[in-house]
Structures are given as structure tokens and as C-alpha cells.
Symmetry: C2
Subunit: 362 residues, 2 copies
């Protein structure tokens, strides 16, 4: 049987639920606002496509002025290369023969492919595979306080950069970090120290890449950076609004849900569960904000049901069959659950896009 | 570019990661063990396909003796009807014109379709839409302590059953509950009371449907039930093992992941994040069990990275490039992230199945 798919012209509130939808005007405004900030501060901007995984949206970002895109997986980068994107940074340590083979094939197809590395093991693997092939551009990933990947000190960054710069099969392209939120001072100190030490050895950094949406509008406080990467800003979400990146009114994604049960006066059950909202809490105590009933609390999720506590809702409470709009805690993981994304303006569906780069095994 | 897909005959540990994989022998044993228990106690068994969303697996369950299947969404039921399944119970309140139209179309195609309702609003919607069509079978959903959907008392169940039984367009098919774990006494009391009250009014209950994996092997403690529904048992997971449903050695699903960074002696970063493991904690403090390093703790997830604390690991610690196997906290939501599922036996891939019923908007 044909899969259910909204059509352009459909009334938004006529659509069956649960369904994630994107407000075109908020989306466009988010793209313009962030690109304008980057332009004002002379920073290149490289949107991370993990948030939407949709080539048409990356095209909007590039048309607004983005210099290239950021992917997290080779399979994502392949989808975007197929769609015509050329300047792609994969911010991941690539290891293992199957990934290296696909990386090399991708590097033959586009001129602007770049990856990161944070260890000699990763660099040795890249070098061995790229021997005799077109050289690969590699940035050194630096841990500036987020506690995830990355070399731990500027000295380690310099040592790894020297290894890459001295390798016949690789090109040292610069430095990259995924910072902690509001970690601008630490990022700048790390970058400036490493850049100076590299310059003293005659090694230049073409790209110095900072990232993250939460404190994006402080990116100018890292003058050593040449570019900024961010993904979540395009849709934004409850966690970004809490972090100070815009307001709840900038959130372009809502999950439409229907009240399917009112077992007790204080309990509503909606048809959005963990397979629509995900269990990402990101520090919240509940699973999303119901815009229409801000005092309602989504206290629990099973896979296809959300349990809503209405006890704090003054005035009218939702009835069975009512539709509600939910701002998710984390938009990127919601995108990742659905094969299609529905866009709307003024209550009418404008387009439906395939979430082309989701569902791939790696 | 062609999507990466494992092939039968591939060595499991040669596969690129992150990748969820299913042990064929554990899968088959889980099917046999649970069906054997149901047979021994004279209970019909209705597997919930939400866990795997793969018709070939439901076929294995039916071939082992299952009487039918359980779906949570109409779109899931459509995929399984397309694959030849006829006896399908959708345990969800169906509301709204688009869903009702698809439900009616499905009801014309298969003879064994059944849904549940827990309110007069839902029953009125079903009745209005099915007027003049083939009648629809409806069970009354009962809240026996789980605090999700369902009428709250046996009296309410009887009233709603009378409404359905007296409706020209609907057929009252029985009672259904999704119980709290180890809630057998409450389920039995609710069911027995409602069944007796219905019998006194001359209304029979063809189906009395209990459910859940956590206390599945106590299903015989609900003698009023005619059938049991369960999904998670087929793969099982860390939460089910903790609940006493089998052991960790019965878990058929692992997520294969690779150590991609060792930034510090106590920290490893793996390539499985919230887009491979999900953020479902289900009461655990960490995001899955690394079988090969049971003292390692997955303390945090970003979308494509998992952060692992190695400080409690005595002896050798994993190196960059090493592969590890992770038992997820919750298997059903992992299934829901990937377009394909890879099966193996004795370290060799046996087959790759499309997760056919995932990614649908509702």
C-alpha cells in the first residue's frame, strides 16, 4: 500500500499524526540570521547537515552564503556529493578498510573533501590507504573542553599536524574543535597557541574550524577561527532556546500530535512517543514542550504513546481528538526518525522532502 | 552512490560500524522458548512486531505457533498485510478521517483486523466511519495499573463494551490491557470482574488479551486471559535481562561499534551515539553494556559519538580501531533507527532484512 505522504496545499491541521513539520519562514529566518552574523564577523560558515539530512536545505544554506557543508558520516557525505556539493568536511576519525575505500572514492569525485584526525593511528591509516592516490586533506581535531574526541594540548596538536604535513599522501589543512558551550576563551587559547607554534615551524593553518549552535552568536570571540560549523540552528529546539540561541518562537520544527486518550481528568495520552520525540532529555525533566498547553508536562514516553500530566493546566484541557504542537528537546534526533519531512507556511503544506541521508548503517 | 550493505557470507567483525546485528541462534531460541511457554499454558500468543518491523521475522514467529500479530500503527499493519498476514490487532485508539479511511481499506483486505478503544469518542468515530461498510472488530482497552491508555475500572469497561456490542457497525471482540510489569494480580482481578459482569448481560469476550515482555513468564497467572502479546522478547535487551526475562546471553541484538579515539587513558570514544543506541535509559545510568568490557561505562552520547569511561577497567583497555559489541538498553528503538538489519551465525552474516515498517510518518 502507498505510504501516507502529505501533499503541497494540504491544510497543516488536517494532517494525520504524529508528524514532524517545519515552518518555512522560521527556517528561512534562521538561515539568514546566522549567515548574517557570520558575514558581519568575517567568518566562513559551514552548516552541519546532521540536523536535516536534506540536500535541498543545504542548498538554501549555501545560497545564503555558506562556504561548504559539514557531515559526520561518509554515507552522509556521499548523499550530499551525489546532490552536487563539493566542499565537505567530515568531522570524524575515519578507520577501517571499508570506510577508507569509500573515503578514497569520494575524494576522487569532489575536490573539497576534508576529514579530521586526533591520533597517530588514524593518520597512519589514512596515509597507508591514500598512498598512490590523490592526496587527502586532514585537519587535527582538538579537545578544547568538551571532553569528547581531540588531542588534549596544543603541543599534541602541533605534533600531529607535523606528522600530517610531513606525509606524502596527506595535506595538513588546519585545526578543528567541537567546543563546550560558551567555551570561547578556551577555544581561542588552544587555537592561538597551536597556530603560533605551527607558524614557528613554517606550517600554516588554512582552516581553523570552531563549531556548535548553543553559543554560536559568540563565535566572534574566537578570532583565531576562520570558520564556524553549526547544525541545530536551522530548525532550533527547546534546548537551544534554553541555551540562549534564539527564543522558542525561532523553533522551526514542531511535532504534530493528537490526544488519543483522556483516561483520567489529569492525564492525556498523545500519539507521539519515543519513536517520534526520542528520549533525549538534554537536562530537561520532560520530553518536549506542548506549545498549546505550556503547563502540560510530557512526563513519560513509550514507543508510540506520550503520557501528559495536565494537573497544572488552568482553564480548558485538551479533548480526545485535539491536535497539539510540540517543540522537541532536540531536533536533530527527531529528523533522524522519519523518512520524509513536511514543510508549511501560513498553515498550508509547501513541500515534502526526503530525509535522504538518514537510515544508513554507517 | 550505492548504500553500504553487508552481504551473506561476510565475516561479522569485518563489517563497518556502527551496525546493529542479530544472532540467528539466540533469535530462534527466544521464539521457541516463549512459544513453548505459551503452548504449555494454553495461551494464544500474538507477537508485537514493533520490535523488529520485519515481515520475515513475524513469519518465523507464526511458523513457530503464534496465532497472529500485534501492530501499534496502521502503517505498520499495512506493511504486514501486504506481506500476507491476516490476523492483526492494532492496539491503538484510531482517530481522524485519514486514519479511519486507511483502517477501512485495510479491513476490506484482511479478515482478522481488530483495533482497541478506550473512550466513547473513539467508538463513535469508528462507528460513524464504518457505517455501511464491513463491520470492524473492537476490543476495549483497560488500564490495569500501567497508567497509560485504558478505561479505569471494570464498570467503565462494561459500559464501553455494551456500547460497542450494541453498535450496528462494530463487533465487540473482547478486552485488552498493557499491564505494568509484574502486575498479574491486578490484571486478573480487572479482567475477571469485567468478564463476569459482561456475561451477566449476555456479552461474551472472544479475546482477552494481556501483554508485555518483562513478566511474560508469569502470563499463566492471569487465567482469564486467552492470549498474550509481546514484542521485545524476540531480540531482548539489557532492560529485559534486568527485569528477569532471560539473561544477557539471551540478547540477540548487539550494536557493533569501533573505538575511534582514545584522547586520555581513561576515555574512549566509540562511533555509536544517540543515532545508533538512542537515549533510552529505562532506569539505567548509562547507555548500554559493552560486552567485551563490562566494567567500561558509556557515560554520554552525542549523535554519532559515545563517550566511554574506562577508569574501572582492570587489565587491557581497548585501542583505537578495536571493535566492541554493545547490548542496548532498549532494542525496539534501535531497530527503528536503521533501514536494514543484519543477521549472523558463528561470526558470519546469514542475511540482511529491510526494516520494512519503519520511518513511516504515522
Amino acid at each position: 500500500m502507498e505510504r501516507p505522504t502529505p501533499k503541497p496545499g494540504d491544510a497543516l491541521l488536517s494532517l494525520s499524526t504524529p508528524l514532524p513539520v517545519i515552518d518555512e519562514d522560521r527556517l528561512a529566518a534562521n538561515i539568514v540570521r546566522v549567515q548574517g552574523y557570520m558575514n558581519a564577523h568575517g567568518l566562513s560558515f559551514r552548516p552541519h547537515i546532521k540536523t536535516h539530512k536534506i540536500p535541498a536545505l543545504a542548498r538554501q544554506q549555501v545560497e545564503a552564503g555558506a562556504s561548504g557543508i559539514n557531515c559526520q558520516k561518509i554515507t552522509e557525505a556521499e548523499v550530499f556529493a551525489d546532490a552536487g556539493f563539493n566542499d565537505i568536511l567530515i568531522t570524524f576519525n575515519i578507520l577501517g578498510p571499508e570506510k577508507l575505500a569509500r573515503l578514497a572514492a569520494l575524494n576522487e569525485r569532489i575536490s573539497g573533501l576534508k576529514v579530521v584526525a586526533d591520533s597517530r593511528v588514524t593518520v597512519e591509516g589514512l596515509s597507508a590507504h591514500f598512498a598512490g592516490r590523490k592526496f587527502l586533506s586532514v585537519l587535527v581535531e582538538c579537545d578544547t573542553g568538551a571532553g569528547r574526541c581531540g588531542v588534549q594540548t596544543p603541543d599534541e596538536a602541533v605534533a600531529l599536524a607535523e606528522m600530517i604535513a610531513g606525509d606524502d599522501n596527506l595535506h595538513f589543512a588546519g585545526l578543528m574543535t567541537y567546543p563546550k558551550a560558551h567555551g570561547e576563551a578556551e577555544v581561542e587559547e588552544f587555537f592561538a597557541t597551536a597556530i603560533a607554534a605551527l607558524a614557528a615551524k613554517g606550517i600554516g593553518c588554512d582552516i581553523v574550524s570552531n563549531g556548535g549552535t548553543p553559543s554560536l552568536f559568540h563565535a566572534h570571540l574566537v578570532p583565531s577561527a576562520t570558520e564556524h560549523r553549526a547544525g541545530t540552528y536551522i530548525y532550533s529546539d527547546r534546548a537551544m532556546a534554553r541555551a540562549g540561541h534564539g527564543s522558542l518562537d525561532d523553533c522551526a520544527m514542531h511535532i504534530l500530535a493528537t490526544v488519543v486518550s483522556r483516561p483520567t481528568p489529569d492525564r492525556a495520552i498523545i500519539d507521539a512517543g519515543s519513536k517520534a520525540l526520542t528520549s533525549d532529555l538534554l537536562g530537561f525533566a520532560d520530553y518536549g514542550l506542548i506549545v498549546d498547553y505550556p503547563d502540560a508536562v510530557i512526563t513519560g514516553l513509550s514507543e508510540e504513546h506520550g503520557t501528559v500530566d495536565l494537573s497544572k493546566v488552568e482553564g480548558p484541557r485538551p479533548n480526545i481528538g485535539d491536535k497539539v504542537r510540540i517543540i522537541p528537546n532536540h531536533t536533530c534526533v527527531v529528523s533522524n526518525l522519519f523518512d520524509i519531512m513536511t514543510f508549511h507556511r501560513d498553515g498550508v503544506v509547501t513541500r515534502v522532502e526526503s530525509v535522504a541521508a538518514r537510515g544508513l548503517v554507517w
